[in-house]
Symmetry: C2
Amino acid sequence: MNIHDKPQNLAPQSVTSGPLPGSRKIYARPAGRADIAVPLREIALDPSAKEPPVRVYDASGPYSEDDPQINLSAGLPRVRESWIAKRQGLEFYSGREVRPEDNGVVSPDRLVPPCPANTSPRKARDGALVTQYEFARAGIITEEMIYVAARENLGREHMVEGAEARLNDGESFGASIPAFITPEFVRDEIARGRAIIPANINHSELEPMIIGRNFLVKVNANIGNSAVTSSVAEEVEKMVWAIRWGADTVMDLSTGRNIHNIRDWIMRNSPVPIGTVPIYQALEKVDGDPTKLTFEIFRDTLIEQAEQGVDYFTIHAGVRLGYIPLTARRTTGIVSRGGSIMARWCLAHHKESFLYERFDEICDVMRAYDVSFSLGDGLRPGSIADANDRAQFAELETLGELTKIAWEKGCQVMIEGPGHVPMHKIKINMEKQLKECHEAPFYTLGPLTTDIAPGYDHITSGIGAAMIGWFGCAMLCYVTPKEHLGLPDRDDVKTGVITYRIAAHAGDLAKGHPAAQLRDDAVSRARFDFRWQDQFNLGLDPETARLFHDETLPKDAHKTAHFCSMCGPQFCSMKITQDIRDEVAAIEEREKGMAGKSAEFLEGGGKLYV
Amino acid sequence: MNIHDKPQNLAPQSVTSGPLPGSRKIYARPAGRADIAVPLREIALDPSAKEPPVRVYDASGPYSEDDPQINLSAGLPRVRESWIAKRQGLEFYSGREVRPEDNGVVSPDRLVPPCPANTSPRKARDGALVTQYEFARAGIITEEMIYVAARENLGREHMVEGAEARLNDGESFGASIPAFITPEFVRDEIARGRAIIPANINHSELEPMIIGRNFLVKVNANIGNSAVTSSVAEEVEKMVWAIRWGADTVMDLSTGRNIHNIRDWIMRNSPVPIGTVPIYQALEKVDGDPTKLTFEIFRDTLIEQAEQGVDYFTIHAGVRLGYIPLTARRTTGIVSRGGSIMARWCLAHHKESFLYERFDEICDVMRAYDVSFSLGDGLRPGSIADANDRAQFAELETLGELTKIAWEKGCQVMIEGPGHVPMHKIKINMEKQLKECHEAPFYTLGPLTTDIAPGYDHITSGIGAAMIGWFGCAMLCYVTPKEHLGLPDRDDVKTGVITYRIAAHAGDLAKGHPAAQLRDDAVSRARFDFRWQDQFNLGLDPETARLFHDETLPKDAHKTAHFCSMCGPQFCSMKITQDIRDEVAAIEEREKGMAGKSAEFLEGGGKLYV
């Protein structure tokens, strides 16, 4: 459905739903809290495995339940409503009136209707506690904190076996990952500014999640229409599709007609935090001319989106007038849209950025709804040639300065990072960000480790993302195969999300996250036992794994065959290894300890043991 | 064509040929050597760029010439014949007779004919210099050394501008990459055992290439039939297809019927080094029963393949009897086919491996044809759980011991490595390999950095490959999306090769290779100038890049449009940056130095400059 062709049928009709193969949704309930139900995905294994089901983190929301009752007009269940309702510092109010320019001055016959699930917005009363940061600083553990603690533990009520050994076996570069996550630990990390729970008080449908260096590495997926194509049905489905494959947050980068109302539909139906770049919409309200932007229009746009429930805003307040000339001799200048818009404004008016100058007023809006800052890197490098240059780092230093202001104002903050960085320059990005931004969570786009592979930038950047995730980056913004070339389609979004789930998980493994390797081990055991279905189902993409297998060996019998197409039935190393195991066991039985002899052999300098 | 169905038409009929879009093949001739023509690919840029064509390394052979005259029956031009013919230490001989078991005892009506381009083989005379290692140790620079020096310099006769600054800007972990490669440097690296030129004296069609830590990182692609599917036409085309996308060497892992004769066709038509795992064929000669293997059958197979011209052999001589019990409690036991075959043999006979015990006799065969060793890691980990365990490292220590023996015997050696290794355990693999194996080149399979993504193991392993390439690994064996699931098809091979070219190049960039970033910079300038065709053509896969672009903006006019589908015409950061450049230039002109003011601004602690 294209919204410009079929105005009579604008509400999205359906989205992808149902569980992944072999999986079912379960909800863990922290002790004594019937009002908190933390979603997990449980992957059942073949009975021959004699292993319990494997639990994995699940960002996909109610859509992946067994028989989900999805009604996009009604929106998702408001899992946070009872928590928020009890908070004294909040009040309902009528909210800002929606204006034609909010929807790009679309003609009435083409107007997407607002989502019927909308309610009046809440905002903070003066002087009350509102944000997760403020609660944390005041020593108060919120429901959101309890929720994410249980979620990070994958619903376990106790430490995973060997947790400390696994931590010791990892390398976390000075992070402070605990063997088990408690709500108190979550509170402490938020109070120190080292983690955020992006959770607008007007997004009660949200299943809370946490972003911080001492938690599981998270993944963001961007969605959005564009000046050239797209429709409302596609937008909601894109969000659902992205979280189905594992996106922890979604940024809506839409522009153009109907964006306000499409955002309504996305918010009311999103179980994950939604981020936006409000300057995009502000720019549309001044007909696309950056020089006409004003602080008032920008502020009004913040309020507009905050009332809808957007959980975090990218704000490029670090693009200062004085930094702009530093980009003039770059190979690729300024590649951030937001950065270039603000640079254009600063130069045209020969004035410091209003985002920088009036940052405290921005904080006041953000705090009133608990919208988290994602301080944008408007001067990030757009090429290997420009990586780690003075423009980039000057801005990063300013973001550190702004972080402190935002904290003083009670706001949650994360910091955006590059971009395009060769491998040997990635670590310094992480180290400098930790230092300059006082350990506020880092959220990077890739980085791409080379520029020579248009069409494969999910891979060029997946390499950098895995590395920076390991080094301490808290959230990785995905890059799809279409980056630099065109708009991602459904397959591209899936490929991008899965590539970034790989990167995030590789980072968790390398940091020694206590529970990360459990899933790898389950896959490896399934592989070794020729439990093909289990191998498929335990993977990030069961459907593709099964499809690839079936291309060579389609018969159902082959799903239980003790060989695969690579070597064929007579020539299988796995089978030989099983024989070796049996034989070693028999020898051990006979000789009471061939393994001991092996140790002797090694200690004896490798002299032959027969 | 399936060889089992259509015996009357067994010779491959055609393979993919012609240049990549925007490219042409050129040949660089080192001064004074009309007999040496080094292939390069030259990518022409749009005249508006006012830039010379970009030269890139080209492993694709004559197939990618403008109007290639390919005749598979005649084989490729014998570019090394005149060099080899002059060498006193070699002699023609009648060669071993081909026996029915060499072709898997295929029935006569299904026998693939031998390639008509075959000639009598050469071998070493007693006591003469034969191998590149022997020549290098004797201080003699061979034609192959001159060739690879020119090839590594991309045909440049002088150092690239800023080469030393680029080297200093990189991080090579103690490698000794020079600013410019001379034949003398090549000779010295080979003499020290730090690099090899896999170049069997019976593979005169070879365009020589070098594998070593101080040279460009190389990529290997595996091809092969299997017990389940495949045909001869597919096999030759697979090699041609893999090198078209950038494979520097190809391993033929075929088994079953007709493998000897199919190998003929591949050798006579391959411009890249071909590697094999001879134990696979030896096993077939004993009906697939590892316990029936003998040294005599193995040695005979080495001679069989060496006479055909195979350039390197994987030999799992490090799988010693005493190490086998170390694998019994692994999560995934022994996953190397060769390793498990030898382990089976050792256990069944309760004897030390004949590959280890009679290694010196193996060296004698290898030296006589200058077949390089690729010492196999038969005990590599098959899962994250088994990475860096005692079995793996015990074998690596033995490979170091064997390396010294092989060098004493005059042979070239590289060392195979894992496998499955989480990110934080990759560097120790490289460090230990350098130490134990005396800096012999390392050649790893990935490594995969997580096991949770069957169907995406080109990506899980591309991450590890890029890192280990940076750390000093000389060649990366590709992994395709089908790894662990099925046999790669044409698209999988292409995806695997391109993923690994990304990894190799990312490694070269990070090491500070003098010429690596030139291509990235050319892409970035093309991107910034909206030279879409140039961006496509400079990339690793021009066809896919163009296809992706055209999905959103198909019109030809859009190839020169100064915007793209991501932001649309009114909203383009690249365009804004160009405006900024113009504006900064104008301001600089007016004010004589805003950039200077920017420096003042920064030095003054960031006080506002208006």
